[in-house]
Amino acid sequence: MTTVTPALDAIDRRIVAATQGGLPLTPHPYAAIAADLGFDEAEVITRMGRMLAGGQIRRIGAVPNHYLCGMTANGMTVWDVDDAQIERLGGQVGALEFVTHCYERPRAPPLWPYNLFAMVHGANRAEVFDKTERIKALLGASCRASDILFSTEILKKTGLRIGAG
């Protein structure tokens, strides 16, 4: 897992709690958040800027729902890749333009021999299969086994829920 960076302070956490559901759709959203919290707009902007620079905020913008945007096929492709090659090959798979997330994760044998996960989205399953063939070609003989797990239903999607601390 990744390293722990300094925790946010209480004011940061109140800003996180106030914005995790989204920004207000009003012309001056940071001023509106600030007014709710009893700060001024500059404080909210400065602190969110610090969180953006520190990586606590990845980005600010639209979070689309793949399914309702027409990308209805979502395949979690999984691969059993030679450990000696995974750093190099994982980087190459992650760089493919159609791979949205790419991670090395532990195997859980015998049920789960796979150590590389690459999420592939497409308008339909055929498109996901085509893209998966490109990953297979890239991995070549360094890959011993693979599978595609299509999602058939979103059971829950709430995103992060963090308390005001």
């Binding site: 897992m1 990744t2 722990v4 960076t5 946010l8 914005t19 995790q20 559901g21 989204g22 920004l23 759709l25 009003t26 001056h28 959203p29 940071y30 902007i45 953006l52 606590q56 905020i57 990845r58 980005r59 600010i60 913008g61 639209a62 979070v63 689309p64 729902n65 309702l68 945007c69 990308m71 979502n74 979690m76 995974i86 994982g90 980087g91 798979v93 992650g94 760089a95 997330h101 991670y103 090395e104 994760r105 532990p106 049920l111 789960w112 996960f117 599978d147 797990l149 058939t152 239903e153 979103i154 059971l155 829950k156 999607k157 709430t158 995103g159 992060l160 829920r161 963090i162 308390g163």
Partner: protein, 148 residues
């Protein structure tokens, strides 16, 4: 359902919304729209579900918390009951049904590093099923961007 302007909004505003006094006006200018039209369209995209959210995307790892991908092999006969039991945990952020013996895949999002083990134990207790953890060992690339 989405028209060309909706698609441009989704494709071009997945990041880079400024931290400024009038961010929507600035984004609207980039897209050649009025601020009012952009706000109305964002409201409609959120209402229709095409956008799940518009705002900051947080990285819980950098906030002292943890994400962990988990999977369970849920017997079909118990499916609905187990979905309800798992989804009832606030730590379960996303949950997907997938076609595999491991047929339920969810993400735990917790505020402290030890929260994953606690949530795993609580879910195992509530369901009587084993919870397999697949923490990320290495992240090669993340691009949350989606083409609409």
């Amino acid at each position: 359902m989405l028209d060309a302007i909706d698609r441009r909004i989704i494709n071009e505003l997945q990041g880079g919304v400024p931290l400024s006094h009038a961010p929507y006006a600035e984004c609207a200018a980039r897209l050649g729209l009025s601020e009012d039209e952009l706000l109305a369209r964002l409201g409609a995209l959120l209402k229709s579900g095409a956008l799940t959210r518009f705002g900051p995307l947080f990285n819980v790892d950098r906030m002292g918390g943890r994400f962990c991908l988990c999977a369970m092999a849920v017997p079909e006969a118990r499916w609905d009951e187990v979905v309800a039991a798992v989804n009832a945990f606030a730590e379960v952020a996303h949950n997907y049904r997938r076609e595999h013996a491991l047929n339920m895949w969810f993400v735990l999002a917790v505020e402290t590093p030890h929260g994953i083990a606690a949530a795993r134990a609580a879910i195992a207790r509530a369901t009587g099923l084993e919870v397999h953890l697949f923490p990320k060992l290495r992240e090669f690339f993340i691009d949350f961007r989606v083409s609409a």
